[in-house]
Amino acid sequence: MSDYSAEGGHGAIPTSGVPSDEGGSKRSQPLWEVFVRSRRGLSHTHVGSLHAPDAHMALRNARDLYTRRQEGVSLWVVAATDIVASSPDEKDAFFDPAGDKPYRHPTFYDVPEGLTHL
């Protein structure tokens, strides 16, 4: 019987008797979401987030944190508070309109045997 698990990545740590969080007040610097273009010709992709006092520092920190191995040729940082997201609670209703329109896909249509370029 053990309340220690290898969950620490670098080794066993207690899984009981440890608080998760106590809902304390938020006092970190603003949160920025980071997007990296891995090479020219590809879109920027979300890679994670970081804290920084302003956009300029966020960009420099993002370089050090997310592109230490030449993972990118361009970076975006976006203040997390500026992102507007769809609600997961409403995802069914929100995305429903596309659900009954299979005719928007080419695979909806039958193509006669032997014909190409169609």
Partner: protein, 319 residues
Amino acid sequence: MTTATAAPQLEQDFQACIDADGRIEPRDWMPEGYRKTLIRQIAQHAHSEIIGMQPEGNWITRAPSLRRKSILVAKVQDEAGHGLYLYSAAETLGVDREELLDLLHVGRQKYSTIFNYPTTSWADVAAIGWLVDGAAIMNQVPLTRCSYGPYARAMIRVCKEESFHQRQGFEAMTVLANGTPAQRQMAQDAVDRWWWPSLMMFGPSDTESPNSAQSMAWGIKRFSNDELRQRFVDATVPQAEHLGLTIPDPDLSWDDETGHYVFGEIDWTEFFTVMKGDGPCNRERLAHRVAAHDEGAWVREAAQAYAEKHASRSIAVAA
């Protein structure tokens, strides 16, 4: 708004997603226990990464060559990066990282026991890369398939970088093992000291642990502590043989029937002693972390003041 779905239905949908090997994302409904378990686990994982900078950071100024020094600086910087990826993942669960650091600093949240051992020779840096990071990879690779999306994604980045950590350690160990008799002795001494703590990294047998069973049902934990430890031993013994170094375990033997190595009893008294705070370096590690945080306060304050000054100027210009 749609009408609130009843909790049992939400819980069923949640479990069905996990059972189908799907991923839970930050704003999805999740049981409070799942959220708490993940925060605790990701936070303590992050703490382990940043405390883990210390034993090896100790050797940066004394690395034996510029090549080794450059590699070590890059590795220690990676550990900081891993900590930041993980704090970032923890925050998607609605916790503030300053609070997590507070819990570390007062000793209420823990970090891996392995970092409470001292690095007394250069060979220890090699042993940490080879054995400690080797064990970490065994733990961390299954986490890349963890049910919580942000944690799994952070672990993919971590594992890619961890592979460099293990290889550089093995390379440094190879050089020592094939060096002068004194270097060989140094390598063997490091293996003698790091072998057992590395096995302890997987934790005591968890076959009876209710927490482990719940973590497995939630798709957070995929393999038992014992399974991962066995994998590590099976993978590492042939590497030690290649180096010509001896694993300090008289009971170690190959079992033809099971296709696994059999190894000796682990001294769990030592593990619990170190976990409770009485390892060789517990106080030093935590004191150093707190001092680094406190001494960096003026930098954070200056950056904040600069940001505020420029924000007020741009408002003035706009007005």
